[in-house]
Symmetry: D2
Subunit: 358 residues, 4 copies
């Protein structure tokens, strides 16, 4: 209830702070009979690991997952699956800079206002390390979805003003460049842009796009638990996300009904499909059998090396320079987090859909 | 669970179809001791009522709310508040056009795929009439929020490509023109544009912006129940919404960290405020004490008078002309629905926040 | 959340007070495709109706149910089913006796303590009329369960010290006598006992037993949502219930392991069964394939005609004589309420069980 | 949803199997600002630890708790508190006896029926070790309740037919004898009885009584989340519990209204109290300000050394002798588990009650 639980049937509960003992997740409601081992999870965690390029923090996190329960003789048993990643890099740093000062763009101030206390070490609960738990659970969800022929694929669509060119789209390229952009040329431009950002002690934002294939029509619950509503809530819960859109999204607000409506057609076998996909694969909050497409807008990393004006806990105006090395952009590492939240959402509603008919 | 319930503490459950006996809502968890009468609710329902301009359906809905429980001697008692609006215009129409044909851009196909049956009369459960229940509950939420000095105000920001001019912004104007645009000149242009749409048998989309004032810092639960995540889920659950953004939203993806971060400052009394509000009043998923600002993108009304290609239930390609009078745009009537979903979200998290500290 | 919602998948939300406009229930999550009409529900409501014998209140309640949504062309559509029973007997009575005085054994005092206000007319929300909503939903649940070969049958096991004799058990007799006792002789004795109670201006309690047949093994979720735990919560939520036991219940606490354990056996076809059923059909919180048996203890009706000592709202000691006609016992009318809560519980967990395996 | 989560505001999620890596619990929604250290939790865990008497298993469990998150500088921060107890005694035993055979009175058969797979080592998820997680969370709940002057105290009321004598009741004695009976003489008799049971290769059941003091009037939510309903569900979810009663419980079913009703009285200061407490401190599902009293009936330990008839997975009739050392009774160790479930329930509803009024 206090916000660390996601999902109704496939229910995920996370815990952990940046510089506490570790971060973890318990998945309750995972169906029994799924082959599962730690390598299945590790594959996804490795995709979000820092220290993979000059644009991500050098912290040696390791981030090795350990499954503590719910798996027996290589299969899920239906009981809760607890997974943990220990925090290895817990050396006592000097937190005097941020201990009593509110970093702009961060949650320091709001945590203090809400709880009267906060774990200020490295962002505490609002650290990006919190996403480890999402990805561990998301990896599990993806594995189940694959059994039903459903795949979830995200990539960086843009960094700052540099956008991928649809004509050069190449998913394999996503895994080749450090920026997770499926367009080598755009990645090169973005790379140069980010180096400039680092020189300027500044940071950039970007957009992640996600495509889900194989979802049968009818997944999602009308009214409040619409598939797009649940996806929006899931993706907006990722730190730094400021916008979400499905299908044509904000552009649809400028379109005409005659062009925005997707015509239904039937092929010679009677199979129904849509000629276009402005809807992004969702109609009336339920999957319509087409590819599901959505985008998330991430703000620039709030931690920058430039001096910034702010206040301290005592209510005094001060200047702050946040020490340490900062990622000039978060979107490349966010790709797998977006996939994870999408997978958790789709799986939860897919299971729920088993109860739609007598 | 099946999607017609919203909220955890202030919990709203809706029911009803377009051409059934009525639509209604039960609010469980409304705090006791609030003065309440039907006029409090009716005021909001009247704002969404159709038939108010040439751009909205002429159906004489009336839409008078009746409170059936939970209020005694003019005050809420803490027990469930059941509210109902009867469907008066239930005359048996000819539904043969849409009975077995899937209207493009509508939920006909997905309902049939999910449940194997659908109430095809006037859209059934996916009709815009479903929002009556949201607005009735939202009116109640707004009344409680006002007791805490919190106001929720939405308006039409754009219709098609016509956007309000910030320099001409005048909230009072919103209630004077039929399009709920707080800019008389923009409203005039939009009106001409919509007349053109009607002539062309087409429709338009638009953007609704919502501003929430008076929310103390700290409302929202970290991780999955962030204030912005919950707002996104709430607003995206409104039919026809395809995008959501808070603060600078998608524009933040192109900004730099140095300009996107809002500097904290303290005035001479020690009160902390932000110099700018790119965050839209939310940091780390909790309100930061600034004005909360978000936007929702609505697609064009899918019901258009133009002939469209589609399929029928039997899987045959057919053409459809949807009979009757169609609204060329939904955003003016959606304004109060957006306010309602925002109010329900903020109130639920405000109550939840009572449990944040020992 | 505030207590008027039951169930996770098959989710029931009730509302209404004794002397408000009516009582009702919304069932969200009812699977689509079930044939349903008002007579299906009315049959159960008629079983709880008052005024059927000299031992139940003479109020002409009628209690006719109206289905307002979720059913189309005689079938459930998967959308919320709203049902209402209007309160017909709302004539303004003289409530001056109980308005400011706390009736012993009733919820008057606790409602006032919790909410600072209460609808004192006829018990308000804590009236036995609240069970109408449970029975309406329960009737629906029973109809679905029957489709899966599951039946739920309750009866009065004892009134005061008068208990049915297992050797004379005859379920058909339950529906013949006014006390719902499946033993004509016991019913006769109980009838005499209750007449005596009325003469003495006093009241009696009793025990209801419930038997559920046809539940396949494996229904119920380990740990907190065990079938027996959920049944206990469901049944103890009925007003006046003070005890719950499954299988041998409290007697098991005095038994030996060797006699309490039920031996498993397999017949020649390999079908597994238990030789005895001390467990009451539940092992480890999951149905074990045997008949499920539980009992609920009801306290004597707290409304008695005898003068009682109590206090008023002002904190003064006063004497109270509760006017009107009082049922000397509640268990006969509670039988169908117990069946309803059992059906709601089993159905919810049966649907949940669809997600147990990949 | 799948049953390993308890509570709405103070939300507890458990995981772990008997012979997996460990058992643990995540508490989400713990209010911030509570002083907390591992010793606070350990104190309760030590009370359930095995190996404390000749009547409990000799397994050297240790059961040392580690807090992994949610506590900073000795205080809770409002973020999830993850606690773990490692399984130390994981040596590979010979499970060939129970691997394919269903032990009578255990969950082996139902787990297999539900999931098609089960972790058969030492009972897996249905082992009594699962209660470690309940007790860890319960210790935390008790600490918070104490801050509000609320205490939760359970003890063994009876073992087999041997019951404590109210006249000899001495709570201090509970902590002196190994059977947790607050009556030295009864404890002595029970001890002799249990030795006899061990000689006979048999086992016994018993009753645990629990008393909660200091709960203000008004805690509990009307209708489905009544305090007694939630307590019943919580306590019945403990393995081996077959019955639950509050106040006079089943005896109330034989009482008369005139004697069962508790008269309200006001003392000279205007404070309202009840002259008797047949209700067990709950009226209409809400605490009435009196002491809350309930009892739970535990069946005899199903693991007995006697040979028993049963079936194997292949559906063949076999005999089984369960090897190893067996506790002849579970109630002494269950005392702290009952306290824990009671504390979790009361705290959750106490926090919920913060939202009862505007």
């Amino acid at each position: 209830m206090a916000g660390s639980t996601f999902g109704n049937i496939f229910r995920v509960t996370t815990w952990g702070e940046s510089h506490g003992k570790g971060v973890g997740v318990t998945v309750d409601g995972c169906p029994a009979g799924l082959p599962l081992c730690e390598a299945d999870i590790q594959e996804y965690l490795d995709r979000r690991k820092p220290g993979q390029s000059k644009f991500t923090t050098a912290r040696k996190e390791g981030d090795e997952v350990e499954i503590l329960s719910g798996v027996f003789e290589g299969q899920t048993t239906g009981t809760p699956i607890s997974m943990i990643v220990w925090n290895k890099d817990q050396r006592s740093k000097d937190y005097s800079t941020i201990m009593n000062v509110y970093r702009p763009g961060h949650a320091d101030y709001t945590f203090d206002q809400k709880y009267g206390i906060r774990d200020y070490r490295g962002g505490g609960r609002s650290s990006a390390r919190e996403t480890i738990a999402r990805v561990a659970a998301g990896a599990l969800a993806c594995k189940i979805l694959k059994q039903y022929g459903i795949t979830v694929t995200a990539y960086v669509k843009s960094i700052g003003a540099i956008e991928i060119d649809p004509d050069r789209f190449d998913l394999a390229e996503r895994d080749r460049n450090k920026l997770n952009m499926p367009d080598a040329e755009a990645a090169e431009h973005a790379s140069a842009f980010l180096e400039e950002m680092m020189t300027q002690l500044d940071s950039a934002g970007g957009v992640v796009e996600c495509v889900i294939n194989g979802v049968p029509a009818g997944v999602g619950e009308p009214v409040f638990d619409k598939l797009d509503a649940r996806l929006a809530g899931a993706v907006m819960s990722i730190g730094a996300v400021k916008g979400f859109e499905v299908g044509d999204g904000f552009a649809a607000a400028r379109a005409l009904g005659s062009s925005n409506n997707d015509a239904f057609r039937a092929d010679e076998t009677g199979r129904i499909y849509k000629e276009t996909n402005h809807s992004g694969g969702i109609l009336g909050g339920m999957s319509d059998g087409s590819e599901i497409v959505f985008r998330a807008a991430f703000k620039p990393t709030p931690s920058i090396a430039k001096e910034q004006r702010t206040v301290n806990k005592a209510g005094e105006n001060v200047d702050i320079v946040i020490k340490g090395r900062h990622d000039p952009v978060v979107v490349p590492r966010a790709v797998v987090v977006v996939e994870s939240m999408a997978a958790l959402t789709v799986l939860d509603l897919l299971l729920m859909n088993r109860c739609a008919r007598v």
